[in-house]
């Protein structure tokens, strides 16, 4: 697969590797187990962080950076970057890809990231507000940018292909996924790691509470990373990779004002709408008009199990790939309160690998 040597005429995009860090644990197996059990993994937010009962969050408590790198090295990363660096390595390994054996300029990373960088920004500014210019810690500043997680992952794994970070409400990871598809289609890369990464901190929850969102959109906020390894089918078959799923059509609508909502729904979910498994992400489970259009099929809502975040789509799409039977047809629907919406057709791999 070095460079362009083994290009095939097949242009379908397939998933050949997965990685997950979530409230279920570190790795794919804890996630698979949590999905099978269907139990909610959210835990109460400690009293000292948010006042009042009934606040839950989905912390990736099992994640220990020291399990993956020396503590001194881990110190230079923010938590979001740690998730991305570790998950990217796990995804490449799962796909059987050794970056060192490939043309590194042909491996890209495109991640959705909602709240990445904000924790560092808060700490940096806290130093300034409490101790003036002398209180600023310069090493915090480089990681205040939202692209720190994807960029740190690219630096650690030497990935020199397209490197983009996206955010768009609860569809941040889906935005990244669509971009990755296009980059593969246009031959800008041979392999792309796509998905989402997010973190949740006490100050973020305080912010949600200040905005009156701690019991609505900010409820059950979570953190972690879900990364999918995407390749053109021909390339994947040439290197005898396991094909975990095929990506079908991706439809998206940015905004659906009431006066023209029907047009938006028709574009997003054209009839007939068929699937063996429906996965809901973001705020899709509360979107009655869209739910009415969905086919009768088992539904999986990862937010109820793992919690929600702006880039939760990475974990939700990973979950779909894990649960979609070989040859089965999946429908993935993601929504945000003010838009956008995404509907993605999926087909189970041959076979979906254990």
């Amino acid at each position: 697969m070095k460079g362009h040597a083994l290009k095939s005429a097949l242009h379908n995009t397939v998933i050949t590797g997965l990685a997950a860090i979530s409230s279920a644990g570190v790795g794919i197996e804890p996630l698979r187990g949590a999905l099978e059990r269907g139990e909610c993994l959210l835990k109460p937010v400690p009293e000292g962080i948010l006042a009042g009962d009934g606040h839950y969050w989905g912390k990736a408590d099992a994640f220990r950076a020291a399990d993956f790198m020396p503590p001194l090295k881990a110190r230079k990363f923010d938590r979001c970057s740690l998730f991305a660096v570790v998950a990217a390595g796990m995804a490449l390994k799962d796909a059987g890809i050794d970056p060192a054996s490939l043309d590194l300029s042909r491996i890209g990373i495109v991640l959705g990231c909602g709240l990445g960088g904000i924790a560092n920004a808060e700490e940096f500014m806290r130093g300034y507000f409490t101790a003036g210019a002398e209180g600023m810690v310069p090493m915090l500043f480089p990681n205040v940018v939202p692209n720190a997680s994807a960029s740190n992952a690219s630096i650690e794994h030497k990935l020199k292909g397209p490197n983009v970070t996206t955010i768009q409400r609860f569809c941040s990871a889906e935005s990244a996924f669509l971009m990755a598809l296009r980059f593969l289609e246009e031959d800008r890369a041979d392999v792309i790691l796509a998905g989402g990464v997010d973190e949740v901190t006490p100050v973020m929850l305080k912010g949600f509470q200040a905005l009156g969102q701690s019991r609505s959109f900010g409820s059950g906020f979570s953190e972690g990373a879900g990364i999918l390894v995407m390749e053109r089918e021909g390339d994947a078959r040439c290197r005898r990779a396991k094909i975990m799923a095929h990506v079908g059509a991706v439809r998206t609508v940015g905004r659906m004002p009431a006066a023209s909502a029907q047009e938006g729904i028709d574009r997003l979910l054209p009839e007939p709408c068929r699937a063996d498994l429906v996965v809901l992400s973001g705020t899709a489970s509360g979107d009655r008009a869209l739910l009415d259009r969905l086919p009768t099929a088992p539904r999986l809502e990862t937010g109820r199990i793992l919690g929600r975040s702006l880039a939760m789509g990475g974990l939700a799409m990973t979950s779909l790939v894990l649960r979609l039977p070989a040859g089965g047809r999946g429908l993935y629907l993601a929504a945000s309160p003010e838009g956008p919406w995404y509907a993605i057709d999926w087909y189970g791999g041959d076979p979906v690998q254990p």
Binding site: L115, P162, V164, G254
Partner: protein, 404 residues
């Protein structure tokens, strides 16, 4: 391999709101006059920093553009974005020709509403109750949502957050959206504003010049921060011509990549910057010999300018000295998340004016920067094609290939 069936992507609308001009007409005048917008900053307290200057939009009055209710919901960044996007949309006329569901937005974002959010933090740390509305714009995607609502655009939406290359990437991606037929028209650009976080942050890294930035000059010490918003409207050329739209130029191609080297420092060899420029030309189907000049990333930091000059030599070889490498950051300041689009628009305007902009604030010749930077003044030019480079934290590089 260049996709053979890719349509030509026309630029049919321009909009800008910046310290160097609050619409395209006034920005063009600043560009032609080589008038720097860098001066004292009074948006927040700067006395504790060695540098107190930047390209600030002074005297901005939200109520000149929005109702009090609207202004209360929008951060400074969102407001700049809505204003500049409005100019670009009106200029292009696309809303009169396409369904709202066929017009998408691809925006490059930066610090977003950090200016307001840091005030929330300051007040909260002081033990007082801060106004929660200060947090409304903290997420960079808010600007897109605001623009979509203001102009009833219902198509695709995304915010790209690759720091200083965000809005250059947003233009390349916008061209892809049009090329694939996902949208009929793409509103592409960026919006960013000065904030204490970015000002203090870059100062803490000691990369801010106490004097107006002097890219590629001897003795340069770093950047001058700026703020603003800029947008281009992109369409398939055939469709644009069918509706008799004014075409300012074309986005012939783009490329983006990562250096995988360091979070803040560029690879000194310039090899990856050169690779991305070559890839952009490849995707555009343009030989390097047809490029008239480059709108550089040209921040004015000692390292960036030397590396970009080195990359130029790798791309153009012996011809490098004949291809002016100019930075317009002395005019606009470094607008971070909006910089890529501000500079792409500057490139479009300069190509149409038949000129190559001056790199302002020359302080002397640096032996490491031994190319033609137009330090002594703008030049007339018959160039049809120019590149616009954007480099960012994390090693994110984007190059646009633009023609008139």
């Amino acid at each position: 391999m260049k996709p053979t069936n890719r349509p030509r992507i026309a630029i049919t609308g321009l909009g800008i709101y910046s310290a160097a001009g609050r619409d395209v007409s006034s920005f063009r005048q600043s560009l032609l006059a080589g008038r720097s917008a860098i001066g004292p900053i009074d948006l927040f307290e700067v006395a504790s920093f060695p540098c107190g200057i930047g390209a600030q939009v002074h005297g901005y009055e939200p109520l000149d553009h929005f109702t009090a209710r609207e202004a209360g919901k929008l951060s400074r960044v969102d407001q700049f974005g809505v204003i500049a996007a409005g100019e670009a949309l009106r200029d292009s006329g696309v809303r009169e020709h396409y369904s709202p569901y066929d017009i998408g937005i691809s925006l490059g974002a930066g610090a977003a509403g950090m200016l307001h959010s840091e005030e929330w933090l300051r007040v909260t740390l002081s033990g007082q109750k801060a106004n929660p509305s200060l947090l409304r714009g903290i997420l960079p995607d808010r600007t897109v949502t605001s623009i979509a609502a203001a102009y009833n655009l219902c198509g695709y939406q995304v915010s790209i957050t690759t720091a200083c290359s965000s809005s250059a990437s947003s233009i390349g991606w916008g061209a892809d959206l049009v090329a694939t037929g996902r949208v009929q028209a793409a509103l592409c650009g960026g919006s960013d504003c000065l904030s204490l976080l970015t000002f203090a942050g870059f100062n803490s890294l000691k990369v801010v010049d106490p004097k107006p930035c002097s890219p590629f000059s001897m003795g340069r010490q770093g950047i001058s921060l700026g703020e603003g918003a800029a947008f281009l409207v992109l369409e398939d050329e055939a469709r644009a011509k069918r509706r008799a739209a004014r075409i300012y130029g074309y986005l012939l191609g783009y490329a983006l990549g990562g250096e995988a080297y360091h979070m803040t420092a560029p690879d000194p060899s310039g090899a990856d910057a050169a690779r991305v420029m070559i890839e952009a030309l490849h995707y555009a189907g343009v030989p390097a010999g047809e490029v008239g000049w480059i709108n550089a990333h040209g921040t004015g930091t000692p390292l960036n300018d030397a590396v970009e000059s080195r990359a130029m030599k790798l791309v153009f070889g012996k011809r490098a000295t004949q291809v002016p490498l100019v930075s317009t950051k002395g005019l606009t300041g470094h607008c971070l998340g909006a910089a890529g689009c501000v500079e792409a628009m500057t490139t479009v305007l300069a190509l149409n004016e038949g000129m190559i902009p001056q790199t302002l604030n020359f302080r002397g010749v640096d032996p490491e920067c031994d190319l033609d930077y137009c330090h002594l003044g703008a030049k007339t030019s018959t160039a049809q094609i120019a590149l616009s480079n954007s480099f960012a934290f994390g090693g994110n590089i984007t190059t646009l290939v633009i023609s008139k």
